[in-house]
Amino acid sequence: MAMAALRREGRRFANPLLSPRPITAVRPSLFSEEDGPTGFRNISTQVVRNRMKSVKNIQKITKAMKMVAASKLRAIQVRAENSRGLWQPFTALLGDTPSVDVKKNVIVTISSDKGLCGGINSTSVKTSKALHKLVSGPDKETKYVILGEKAKAILIRDSKQDIEISITELQKNPLNYTQVSVLADDILKNVEFDALRIIFNKFQSVVSFLPTMATVLSPEVVERESESGGQIGDLDAYEIEGGETKGEILQNLAEFQFSCVMFNAVLENACSEQGARMSAMDSSSRNAGEMLDRLTLTYNRTRQASITTELIEIISGASALEG
């Protein structure tokens, strides 16, 4: 039934094609393109024109997004670079100890809430997964703590049972230390850990980011390592002032270190996000521009061709009447 209807339709469309066209010859209007019934000639130009309009709109959007990202980046870059001073003293004291082997690892994956920012989210997820494989083993426990919507969306697929906490909408307000330390407090309270491994994208320049891991050890591990003369053996050389016991002050130290490292990590990641978004949007507006150029060329060529065809028809019709 449907086929029959189609065939009928087809015939109706085909008819004007097959029939001789005395009308155009008699009424030589070059401008009948617009007011005539949607003729077969106009179809292709109409489609191309619509396409051009949508590409132009997309280009406008990507350009605007690039501008927004650029201005946000400028604001946040200074803060990210200044915040590096917060973790550097801790590294000077405790050293960077990614290879300390512990039982309970918690991987803190930092990602963004919004997409359209190149590969930074997939990079941090990939790094986290690789790390998960690396540190997990028999009688070991590895958990995820996820910041940001994007990493959550990916990790929830295959590691749902390992996700301890996920936090989103961190960047609704401009990032500040108070907010991050509340967050860090939340993580410290709710997750048992021997080592926290924070994965984020360290900002290098607008086009390059380094997937980075920062390690924060629990006070017990720090004490054990420093006493056994392991990787942080220097700690024993320090006198400790304040607090009742060494353990207590190490506890405070580890918590403070975590909040400082987290603060830097979120800032660095936000900075990388804006940078990545800027370059992604830049390349997509360039792509849209190129596409628009190609479409304009096709459009003009088709239009020209249809005009030429019409002219030929008119002339040959006229000459046929004369002859």
Binding site: P89, E241, G242, I249, L253
Partner: protein, 112 residues
């Protein structure tokens, strides 16, 4: 020389100081450079003094003492003292106590 407000008391640090980790309390950090002295008010944090005559002081907030508004300090002090007396739960008490501590430290930094 720097004078650090450690929890155990004021601590003067000169080059060659014994390596130390010190927890800080709200108070004044003074940095002496030749004859010049700069004073900062610190909220809290840590100080690491390394063996190579380098000292790292990490704090959540640091403000130059002459940037502090005395009238606001008095107001804050009164507010938190009132909160402390009216606090019912342990958490409220602890929070008010922190507020009182910080503001009285601010006050003594300004007067002292």
């Amino acid at each position: 020389m720097v004078i650090i407000p450690a929890t155990t008391g004021q601590m003067g640090v000169l080059p060659g100081h014994v390596p130390t980790i010190a927890e800080l309390k709200p108070g004044v950090l003074s940095v002496h450079e030749g004859n010049e002295t700069k004073k900062y008010f610190l909220s809290s944090g840590f100080a690491f003094i390394h063996a190579n005559s380098v000292a790292d002081i990490i704090v959540v907030e640091a403000v130059q003492v002459d940037h502090i508004d005395p009238s606001l300090v008095q107001k804050g002090l009164a507010e938190f003292t009132q909160k402390l007396s009216s606090a019912t739960t342990d958490l409220e008490k602890a929070e008010a106590q922190i507020g009182v501590d910080v503001h009285s430290a601010l006050n003594s930094a300004l007067t002292g």
